[in-house]
Amino acid sequence: MESQAPRVTVEGFDGPLDLLLELVEEKRLDILTVRLGDLADAYLARVRALEALPAEEVSAFLALASRLVLLKARSLLPSLEPLPVEEGETEEELRARLLEYAVVRERADALGDRLRAGERAFHREGGTVELPPRGGEIEALASAFSRVLALAARHREEDIVAPAERYSVEQRTAEIEELVAAQAEVSFATLLGASPTVGFAVVTFIALLDLYRRLVVDLRQDELFGEILITRREPASAPS
């Protein structure tokens, strides 16, 4: 059920027009020809039963009630009631509204029938399949793996040799900066050299990240597993 919609109805009526239409149908009157003013008494009788409603809801019903009473008064005393145009809704305008509403209610019933019949469609859940990025060639994967194996082999050597090298990030940063200033474009592989130790690679990498953070260099990788290229930033955008 529609739990989040506290719906206010009057004995099952969804509004003044609904109630009026219901009266027309109950009395088996022709909506096209019925004198709406004649329904004023029956309508008022129903509205009187509405005291439990919030004021704003009742007001809508009362507005229509007053309209109906006015229409009735006019039909009883036609000579005393000339029809100033500005005086609001005429009987024909009200009838037009009622007709329009009657059509809407029929449409709503038809939609409700469809809903109850349960003949609905379903789309496939999950949307589009996420494809991996292009360029994941099998050869690239193999060569990357062989590089990893080579690195792994070197690790063991280092463990045994345990070199006492010391690198400082500051020093390496200055070196890279110099290199990039001279060559405009340097690849990451060049910076690492042929057989870097882990310490050297880490320091180089951190130095590079630092340079990038300080907007001294730009980093670019054109394809998956491709070379990382380091280029100098335009001096204008680099802070002093």
Binding site: D14, L17, A96, E100, V104, E106, L115
Partner: protein, 165 residues
């Protein structure tokens, strides 16, 4: 998927795509699938005849709407795009709550603003609306009325076209 996307992917003209879509739609007839279309968007969905089975498989709940919500939905569906004030004028009641309910159930959605005083929000039906009511497109909205209803509509339409002055 939009017609433009299909044309780009297939390397075809929009017209060619349209023909192909019509053929595809026709070939689905009598099968468990069908094409659903709203504006320029197309999607393959399950055929409404098989809804009970698919719903059972998915564990989907049946959508239920109150008569008030259905009325508001009917006005939006047949008159879209439409403002809340226009819906209220037709139904003769405040429609805040039903519009909120329908929006939160993704049956209607905002469709920009009407360029009149206050720039009120315009509402239209959604893709989910078509799905929930098993409509291939808005063209499949039930048009037929009861004989009385048809008379009412023709009279109501005339009344709206030539307001009594």
């Amino acid at each position: 998927m939009s017609r433009g996307e299909l044309a780009r992917v297939a390397g075809a003209t929009p017209r060619g795509v349209e023909t192909a879509l019509a053929e595809l739609g026709a070939s689905y007839e009598g099968t468990g699938l069908r094409l659903q279309n709203a504006g320029d968007e197309w999607q393959i969905v399950t055929a409404p005849d098989h809804a009970p089975q698919v719903a059972a498989y998915l564990g989907a709940d049946r959508l239920r709407l109150s008569p008030a919500s259905l009325e508001t939905l009917a006005v939006v569906a047949y008159r879209q795009p439409v403002t809340r004030a226009e819906v209220e004028a037709i139904r003769g009641v405040n429609c805040d709550q039903t519009i909120y309910t329908l929006s939160s159930r993704r049956l209607i959605e905002e469709r920009g603003r009407k360029e009149t005083a206050g720039r009120p929000i315009l509402y239209g039906t959604t893709w989910e609306f078509l799905e929930c009511f098993g409509l291939g497109s808005l063209h499949e909205l039930p048009r037929a009325l009861t004989p009385e209803g048809a008379v009412l509509e023709s009279v109501a339409g005339r009344g709206a076209a030539t307001p009594d002055r």
